[in-house]
Amino acid sequence: MDFAQNLSNAIILGCTYLLMAAGLTMVYGVLKVLHIAHASVYTIGAFVGVLVYSWVGNFWLSLLIAMIFSGVFGILIYRFSYYYLLDVPRTVPLIASIGLFVMLTDLLQKPFLMGPYQRAFPAGGAGLPRIDTPWFSITSKQLLIFSVTIVLMVLVYLLLTRTRIGLGWQAASLDREMAAAVGINLNRIIALNFFIGSALAGAAGVLVGIYNNSVFATMGDLPSYKAFIIIVLGGMGSLPGAILASLLLAIVENFLVASIGYVLPRDSIAFLVLILMLMFRPHGLLGQE
């Protein structure tokens, strides 16, 4: 019973990592930028979600608006920072990204935005049922996280593998110059990439906000590090790798905490895994050597 329950909890946790890491992977794929400020988008998504929820009281509407807002915010981040840094060494946008992240977190802590408080996000499970089996239980919040993640990931998968824009992303991530030479408008393709990746981060923020019933300005700190670990584990820019790494990391975290207790703080496990991975398989699980 414990095993099944731990596994189901781990999968739910993995879903929240996955939404965050998927967007980051997409951005990394096309721009080769480690987009730290992605975690700010996550926080902003949660903030917009909780605000809209307090006005309209409808979870689905607040999720939708939070995702659109986050997506547009992502485009703005691209247009006003990385856009100017396309042809410089990749460490430059990385540093810009760290600066952006720190700036946005500080800005969000201002009293006229989120302030230093935690806000409750009492959307519950948005009316979804609780599932009880003899082996494990899934709360309605968990079911919500799981189903929203699956739907969004299936949509992203279809977009990536079946459509023009997916082909365009693949082309642009392999060779931007050549992609332009077959008529792909790079700016538009990259902006859409940011829109979708950021919308996913916004969704992750909303879902985690609901799960913990708490939204606050620095909630992006930990996910920013973890999402990174996941894309390194998964193999920089490989989406299947990121999915696998999200689930594996969540499973390792859950089972280690469950079996050996809090010998290690839970969130340090991810870093331990990262260090081991870099020592023994530096190109990640599914990355190319």
Partner: protein, 246 residues
């Protein structure tokens, strides 16, 4: 009216002048662009295809100036190019490489972007192009696993996918063995007969002389000669430029 006119184009990279007042035209022909290393041939291609904006001068395509357009818009007007260093989309299959080039209008509008790319019509067009470039047998092979001669053909197939009126080939014969070079020459002649106008940069003199109807010679950023292959072969300036004599 010629298809393409380059009018008094100069280009500087910082303090280095790569092109000096270059003017040329390309018509319904196979035009060769030859010259020693560093003559500015590829720079000129980059300017025509929109990857560089010339410091001075104009590029006129079908009567309209295009020197300020970005590459993806130039492509939509019907100017396709290949690169000196072959760059197929490495992880994609040969067919996907060609599919990426098919259907310019898709990339121009939002509805096109979310449209599926593997439609019956697109696959049909791709098959036709693969046949034309003799790549049918490599359809599902990842492009980066293929020998260079075949990768070059993938590049040409992908360039043809955009239905160009003008095709710029940057050293298409580089790295090819004799048999492949011969096949390439036949392919280029075939494309020309189908109404595609071609400008090619070439180092291989014999290849250029046998294929091109007219040749422009660049040396140190300037045009030093142009004319029929026979005239070029006899031109003293050209011989000096190649042999490094003054």
């Amino acid at each position: 009216m010629p298809i393409l006119e380059v009018e008094r184009v100069s280009h500087w990279f910082g303090g280095l002048q790569a092109l000096k007042d270059v003017s040329l035209y390309a018509d319904r022909e196979i035009l060769g662009l030859i010259g020693p290393n560093g003559a500015g041939k590829t720079t000129l291609f980059n300017i025509i295809s929109g990857f560089l904006t010339p410091t001075h001068g104009k590029v006129i395509y079908l009567g309209k100036p295009v020197q300020h357009l970005p590459p993806h818009q130039i492509v939509r007007l019907g100017i396709a190019r290949t690169f000196q260093i072959v760059k197929p989309f490495a992880n994609l299959t040969v067919e996907e490489n060609v599919l990426a080039g098919i259907g310019m209008p898709y990339y121009a509008q939002f509805r096109g972007l979310v449209a599926p790319y593997r439609t019956t019509a697109n696959v049909h067009t791709a098959s036709h192009l693969l046949e034309l470039t003799d790549l049918q047998n490599y359809r599902n092979a990842p492009a980066n696993r293929l020998p260079i001669g075949i990768q070059r053909r993938v590049e040409i197939a992908r360039a043809l996918a955009i239905k160009p009126k003008l095709l710029l080939l940057d050293e298409p014969a580089a790295g090819l063995v004799a048999k492949e070079t011969l096949e390439l020459a036949n392919l280029i002649k075939n494309l020309h007969q189908q109404g595609i106008n071609i400008i090619l940069i070439e180092h291989n003199m014999r290849f250029a002389m046998s294929l091109c109807q007219r040749i422009v010679v660049l040396a140190q950023g300037e045009i030093i000669a142009q004319g029929q292959p026979i005239e070029i072969q006899a031109n003293e300036k050209v011989i000096n430029a190649y042999l490094g004599q003054e």
